[in-house]
């Protein structure tokens, strides 16, 4: 594992400065998959040298309870597994872990910062579209059910007498074409 302490030697004129720089990395919480920023959370090292990082004590406590994140509804693992959130997208490729440190280049750093913003926007737009599409069928279904309920249950809202008197309270009447054959049949009866 690469040590995160890099001893950098600065040459300042004729004297030498030895500076300890720590590399900063945004980690992912093992339980909920949110980002752990430096200064937050607890890191648990198991005896087999596997490191579990947690963003907050909620995740840490759930881990201690031996809960499986894939079964806990509010975690990213559950959401991805059950298709609630977007899983495969090209924007995720940009966030993959790279262990090789890049030599500092001002242009590269500038472009990367600009790109991060843009990619983030694209990713969140795509993710929200995914969720919107998922919820679309439900919305249509609910509207259909609501209309049906209104038609059938209008008598619960207004009394039949009131409906008959004031036609504005009724639902608009739907015109139905009656076939000619039926009206001819009725005429002999009335006579």
């Amino acid at each position: 594992m690469i040590s995160d302490i890099v001893n950098v030697i600065f040459y300042l004129g004729n004297c030498v400065l030895l500076v300890n720089l720590r590399r900063m990395r945004l980690e992912k919480c093992w339980f909920c998959s949110s980002t752990v920023y430096p200064g937050h959370g607890i890191q648990f090292v198991r005896n087999d040298a596997k490191i579990f990082r947690f963003c907050r004590s909620k995740c840490h406590k759930n881990f201690k309870m031996k809960r499986n994140p894939r079964k806990v509804k509010w975690t990213k693992a559950y959401r991805r597994l059950h298709g609630k959130d977007m899983t495969h997208d090209s924007t995720f490729e940009f966030e993959r872990k790279r262990n090789r440190p890049e030599r500092y280049d001002r242009n590269l750093a500038e472009n990367t910062l600009k790109a991060i913003k843009k990619i983030d926007k694209i990713r969140s737009d795509r993710a929200s579209d995914h969720i919107k599409n998922r919820l679309k069928t439900g919305k249509v279904q609910r509207q259909k059910e609501a209309r049906k309920q209104l038609e059938q249950g209008i008598h619960l809202v207004k009394a039949p007498h009131a409906l008959a008197q004031d036609s504005s309270l009724c639902l608009p009447k739907i015109k139905v074409n009656v076939s000619q054959a039926q009206t001819e049949e009725n005429q002999p009866m009335e006579e």
Binding site: S3, D4, H40, F44, V45, R46
Partner: protein, 117 residues
């Protein structure tokens, strides 16, 4: 005091009981040295049961703050036996070992370690 620690090197001891923390009023933490008494040892080891030894705490279940503000904790309490100068008695160290040893100048233990957490 009285904490039983696991020994994670091949010096011969298996379990060791802390009898004094060398630095700190509140007790030794991750990376500190302690004086310990060997409670359980392998039959043919460099260290025998009942011997008083020095040890460096390499795993601690109590979390220790890191420079960047985060905290680390390990699964259990373990120690690597050293001599008075700080050189490890054993020739191998098992399991993960924290960064903090570098600060305390226990470089030999770090080089012997399998994994640095």
């Amino acid at each position: 005091m009285r904490t039983v620690l696991k020994v994670v090197d091949n010096s011969g001891a298996k379990k060791v009981m802390c009898i004094q923390a060398l630095k700190g009023k509140k007790g030794a933490r991750l990376g500190d040295t302690i004086i310990a008494s060997v409670k359980e040892a392998m039959p043919n080891g460099k260290v025998k049961k009942g011997k008083v030894v020095y040890g460096v705490v390499v795993l601690a279940a109590m979390q220790r703050g890191r420079c960047d503000g985060s905290e680390v904790k390990f699964d259990d309490n373990a120690v690597v036996l050293v001599d008075k100068q700080g050189q490890p008695i054993g020739t191998r160290v098992f399991g993960p070992v924290p960064h903090e040893l570098r600060q305390k100048k226990h470089v030999k233990i770090l080089t012997l370690a399998e994994h640095i957490a």
